[in-house]
Amino acid sequence: MARMKFLCDAERCIECNACSVACKNEHEVPWGMVRRRVLTVNDGEEGQERSLSIACMHCTDAPCIAVCPVECIYQNDYGIVLHDKDLCIGCGYCFYACPFGAPQFPQQSNFGSRGKMDKCTFCAGGPEEPGSEAELRKYGRNRIAEGKLPLCAEMCSTRSLLAGDGDQLSEIYRERVQRRGYGSGAWGWETAYYGPRTGS
């Protein structure tokens, strides 16, 4: 059984932001919310600068699910973390727990609620009939149900951002590192997928 993951090859990301634009457009994400964003670390440091595309990493033992006071977030058998917007109360706890800043809210301030949380769905929609109007309106397109992978990864011009089964992604990445002779590793994997077991 597959375990869906994202892998961003930092040596290949050219900070073109196509992934975040594609995501925003595909799912018609409202103004002010970004499901996927690109950031640059060590900006200006020669040889150290890396750009990274980051969204929900669909963590193992996901902290957002663990802290949600209404249990509206869940994980499916593929490891994709989804949520039910009908139940969300907009408390913002998932954002405090999330290691990657993935959950987004329509409101900045919390007067009773920050609105319904929105985040990357791995293009897998949500708890509505796949392909339905309701699903599109609340969660965006369901590409997984159509046998397609997330659009951000599929349209990445340098194939920096990869989406798919974790074992396959790590194989692809290893192959690349072997060919070109360098690589800074799978950014965020430690925290996202092995966080609960390793280190402390």
């Binding site: 727990a97 609620s113 149900a145 925290t191 390793t198």
Partner: protein, 401 residues
């Protein structure tokens, strides 16, 4: 009667305490795949059959070729090594399997650390790549706070119930005289009850957010509980207004009478005379040391709650990730401590002591109650002529066991 009630309550609270401890030790908050909202409608499979699965695998492989020449479409197709696991695993086993890849992929893993970068997007937090301390916050909240809070609240309640069973109600030794004196005016009482009602509602709505998921949701179902939680969150935020005003007015009205004095130390050393029925109550002014402790705990705890709560209402306005996580933790721990304190306050103001409730309800207390519990205040009243110097003629001596 009161003692029997205390005994029964003590048994109940100790049972709840043991149950909380047990739950704390056996429960695990590890997240397992559920394929849909727990207790919700039908499962939500995204790509269930083997064909869908194979398609996804193939598309993942397509991402391999870019930057180098890909395989010829006419060439030999690469066989997919998808390492499929048998379907129908238990969710726990599946998580174990996911975690078991750590060793195999250790060459790809970096050290877990806080990584901050730069982004063109507005808002400082969006520049943070990873903040692994989110997991620390989650683990602390879901284990220590949740179960520690339960043990603390049931523990306080059990101690009070045991105290009631052992000591019984604190009664007015000389019985009610029938003559009363004003203790709190209408303004003080109105403010007290505004603050009190706000606090109780704040506590209940806060408990819905902290414990509702485990204790209420299974009974109400996902949607009804979500509505309750949503309403609770709203009410919790709105009540900040009456609660803050109440605290402020309380501070202005009572601070002068609550400054610590030497007599308070004496009072505390003698345990406030609560220990036994025989011991005399130590002298106390209008507010005894116990009440002063409650006053200052409410003022200080309340201020911490308001400050951290306001901070949670404007997330990331002043603080970053760690700041918000600490804010939330301080808010919930202070809230729980205050709930315990107020349970004690309610106890002594109602069941715990005869005649005490009238002070805050009608505002008037009995002459003998004042004499026994606040002797210095009583002397003061006599000196000011607000009470006659000898007991009322119709003093009824009512003594019950």
């Amino acid at each position: 009667m009161a003692r029997a009630f205390g005994g029964i309550a003590a048994v109940v609270f100790i049972a709840l305490l043991v149950w909380t401890l047990y739950a704390g030790f056996v429960s695990s908050d590890r997240v397992v795949p559920t394929d849909g909202v727990i207790g919700g409608g039908a499962p939500d499979p995204v790509a269930e059959n083997a064909a869908d699965y194979a398609t996804l695998m193939e598309r993942a492989q397509l991402q391999r070729w870019r930057g180098e020449t890909g395989p010829s479409p006419e060439g030999e197709q690469t066989a997919l090594e998808n390492g499929e696991q048998p379907a129908g695993q238990a969710p726990e086993e599946r998580v174990q399997l996911w975690l078991s890849r750590t060793e195999a992929q250790s060459d790809l893993l970096q050290s877990r650390r806080f990584v901050e970068g730069q982004t063109a997007l507005p808002g400082e937090v969006l520049g943070v790549f990873s903040q692994p301390q989110g997991r620390v916050w989650r683990a602390f909240r879901n284990n220590w706070v949740v179960f520690g809070g339960g043990v603390y609240i049931f523990g306080i309640s059990a101690l009070l119930a045991l105290f009631l069973a052992w000591r019984g109600r604190v009664e007015v030794e000389e019985g009610f005289s029938g003559e009363s004196v004003l203790r709190f005016n209408v303004f003080e009482r109105a403010n007290h009850w505004m603050t009190a009602v706000s606090f109780v509602l704040l506590a209940l709505t806060g408990v819905v957010i902290l414990y509702g998921r485990d204790l209420i949701r299974p009974w109400l179902g996902p949607q009804t509980f979500a509505d309750l939680a949503s309403g609770s969150a709203w009410l919790h935020m709105m009540l900040i207004l009456p609660f803050t005003i109440g605290l402020f007015v309380m501070l202005l009205a009572w601070v002068a009478q609550n400054l610590p004095k030497r007599v308070d130390w004496e009072w505390l050393k003698r345990g406030g005379g609560m220990g036994s029925e025989e011991s005399l109550n130590p002298p106390a002014p209008k507010f005894n040391a116990g009440q002063k402790i409650v006053f200052w705990a409410v003022i200080l705890g309340g201020s911490v709650l308001v400050a951290s709560g306001l901070n949670l209402m404007f997330p990331f306005l002043l603080l970053g990730y760690s700041g918000m996580e600490i804010s939330q933790t301080v808010h919930v721990i202070t809230g729980l401590l205050m709930i315990g304190l107020i349970i004690g306050h309610i106890y002594i103001g109602t069941i715990g002591m005869e005649g005490a409730f009238d002070a805050m309800w009608s505002g008037r207390v009995d002459r003998n109650w004042a004499k026994e519990h606040h002797s210095l205040w009583f002397d003061d009243l006599l000196a000011k002529g607000k009470l006659r110097s000898h007991a009322h003629a119709s003093t009824e001596t009512r003594k019950t066991g």
